[in-house]
């Protein structure tokens, strides 16, 4: 069973920076887990620790039943695809793919057979005689993937493997990786800073921030019920609208008071109200609506994003289906889907939701 358990993983660098601060994460057998977070949050560090390229300051790494914390990388049943692919430039594609087998003293004939098999699977059978320099970005990516696949490891690690590809190749490779995962049933840990990529590929996504785990759950759950204000802001595009204010009143009179007023269920005190752009609606003036001035309209075809300013110049983003119906400079009225609003406490933890008045 290729489960991966990270227990209180910490990595401090000699210069004092803390890349990981007590990361605990259980990855199930055969799971496609995406590690996501902004640049510098410790994703690469986490992968390198799992791969054994770096040693944790404290904490354990358990793969299956075995504690691999002190094993060298070659002895862990783990393969990694690097962001820059790290193909050996002096080897041909075939030699690149065969290298892990060669190091494990697989007989030459068997090496060739396996290399050809993997290359066929990934559609790079014709490229075997070429050098990496003669390949396109997408082809290099496949070769790097093939070099990982040929080892048949228990765990695959991907460090932003798609970020060097152009948009079209990226989309198709994304789909292919998911297909490959289904086909192999291996445990895969995929690192990306792109939340859209994370949402579309992950079975579960783990959101990292400053070396700490913010939340680990299925993508839609993370989207609907972000555990922290950071997660709420990180996931979703355009990003969620936030309003600072206080929660006042009791029971059925509880009210969030700030730039907007929304009935909520949450402990009183200062807090933040968060509303996704699709939960704001342009409506005729009336009860429970508030006026805004349109600052910018981004038409995207199927929908448009309206950037508008409240009276105190707080910016709100509204997702409007269809073609634009408002123009810059217009004053329009907005209504909030109260039940979809989220309330975070002063530390940024989710503490309640909006409610029907």
């Amino acid at each position: 069973m290729a489960t991966v358990r990270l227990q209180q993983l910490t990595r401090k660098f000699p210069d004092g920076s803390v890349a990981l601060a007590g990361l605990t994460l259980d990855i199930k057998h055969g799971e496609f887990l995406v590690l996501v977070g902004p640049s510098g949050c410790g994703k690469t560090t986490a992968l390198r620790l799992i791969a054994g390229l770096d040693a944790p300051t404290s904490g354990r790494i358990v793969v299956g039943e075995e504690d691999v914390t002190d094993l060298p990388p070659g002895s862990r049943d783990v393969a990694m695809v690097f962001q820059n692919y790290a193909l050996y430039p002096h080897f041909t594609v075939a030699e690149n793919i065969a290298f892990p087998l060669k190091m494990r003293r697989v007989p030459a004939g068997e090496q060739q057979r396996q290399v050809r098999e993997v290359a066929e699977t990934l559609g790079i059978g014709e490229l075997l005689a070429r050098k990496p320099a003669q390949l396109s970005g997408g082809q290099r990516q496949r070769v790097a993937l093939a070099r990982a696949l040929v080892r048949q490891p228990a765990v695959f690690l991907f460090d932003e493997p798609l970020s060097n590809l152009d948009a079209q190749v990226r989309a198709s490779t994304r789909a292919e990786l998911v297909r490959l995962h289904r086909q192999l049933g291996a445990t895969m840990i995929f690192v990306t800073h792109d939340q859209v990529e994370a949402m579309s590929m992950a079975q579960r996504m783990a959101v990292l921030n400053k070396g700490r785990l913010e939340q680990c759950a299925a993508p839609l759950e993370v989207y609907r019920t972000p555990a922290t204000r950071f997660t709420a802001q990180f996931v979703g595009s355009p990003s969620i609208n936030t309003f600072d204010g206080t929660i006042e009143g009791k029971g059925s009179r509880q009210l969030f008071v700030g730039a907007v007023q929304v009935p909520v269920t949450a402990p009183p005190g200062s807090g933040t109200l968060a509303v996704r752009p699709e939960h704001l609606h342009i409506v005729p003036p009336g009860d429970g609506t508030f006026p805004v001035r349109v600052a910018l309209v981004e038409p995207l075809g199927a929908e448009c994003i309206v950037h508008a300013l409240l009276g105190d110049n707080t910016e709100v983003r509204v997702r409007v289906p269809g073609l634009p119906t408002v123009a810059t400079g217009d004053t329009v009225h907005l209504r909030i889907d109260h039940e979809a609003a989220l309330v975070f406490d002063a530390e940024g933890r989710l503490e309640g939701r909006g409610r029907r008045p």
Partner: protein
Amino acid sequence: MTTDFVTPARRVAVAVCLVWGLVVGALVVRTWIRAEDALAAQEGRSVAASFGPDFQPTRLPVRTPVAAGRVANVVRTMERQIGPAANRIAESERTLSLGRLWSRYVSVPVKDADEWDVVGAVVLRADWWRGVAIPLAVVLATLLVAATLGRRGVVRASEDVSTPPYFLVADAIATLTVGTTGALVLASRRLTEAAAILPPPSAQVRFDPLSLPMPGTRTLGVLLLGWCFAAACALFLCAWMASPRRSVAERRESATAWSFLAPSGVHLLVFTLGPLLFTAWLSLHPWDLLETSRPFIGLTNYRELLSDPQFWNALRNTALYTLYVPVTMVLALGAAMLLNQPLRGMRVLRAMVFLPTVVSYVAIAMVWQWIYHADYGLLNYLIRLVGGTGVDWLGNPATALVALMIVSAWVQLGYQMIVYLAGLQGIPETLLEAARLDGANAWHRFTQVTWPLLRPVSLYLLVTGIIWSFQVFALVYVMTEGGPARSTDVLVFQIYQQAWEFRRLGYASALSWVLFAILLGLTLLQWRLLNRKVEYAG
């Protein structure tokens, strides 16, 4: 769209102009020189005659162009050769002699009263630039006009891709032809002047300029080459002016670029290309620095060199000496890998290993001379400390060369290490990490990844190292002077010895050219090998 630009008539015209220009160009220079020689000879006779029968050799005026005033525009340097020196004048030259192209001179013998013994000679050297200045001015003006016209031709034909290149400069070639024809007329006029203006110095001597000896075929060959060179310059100038990217800004830009390049270009020409050609010429002549006559002896120097055991000995020693290069490379790579660790104090250590490379070879040689000293040397002291017997390292033919190689290795180690360090740091870290993940141990990471990726660096170090070691001189000169028993005699030291100790500059030049050929071969080999690059883009 001037597709009718190339007509058969024009084609013939261009060909005729081209041939005409070449032939006439050669004739111009030939005629001009003949005229100048005639003038010089005439003056020489005048000078000699003016001394009269009661001529006192000691009172011969020196560097006074006696006859100069008689011919406008001719100023010549006059030398005297009197007394025994006059005997060096060959029999055939006792009336008149002409040197080669750039050292043309006329010598006229000065005889005693009874016209029997030659007691001296008047030598007139033509200031060559005077002879060339006028034709050169004509050629330059012609080139300028030709370039302008050539440019017009190119512009006209630029839309018509099918126009053959030589038509692009048809007008230029035509102008060149006209220009050189003009120069020929000028030259002929001068020749006639030479015959007409000057009265014969005495009634006995009939002076006929056309009876003067002509430059030999070799000189004519040089002239013809010179002419071809001038024509090529003109064509280049046309192409340069006519190339389509000539906007004003671009022209200014390239003028600026050339002006920046000019100093180093002149330097290259004067101090590299000049000496190179001079030694090439010298290697075909004997010269001891003092003798003024340097007869052409063809490949004699080279033939002698090939049959000289000293040369083969030097070549063998030099080849043996180069063996220190690969040995040092192994050490340097080891040092580079050790010093590539990100540890404290590594910078200082690297600097220390690198230090010998920046120290003067002479200083290093002196220090090592002491280290190797048979009686007071550090090395023998250490050997005696551990109970061995000392060796006269530099005095023993069996050890002298090896001793020099060790010094060179010590010097080169730092340099090679720095280059290897740069190479190591150019290898992406992720490649080695990928190899670790792929299960490669340290040895395999070195043999499978690091070493192959360092191949261009190694090749560079090997070839440049060999090239440098073929040029070793300072160490040998200071430490052993080629000895003992010629066991450390290397090529450059041979060159030095032949040139400055034995004063055989011709032979030394031939040696230099052999060395040059070897180095050129090595350099070409390096280019060939290094051009097969390793791409780092994984």
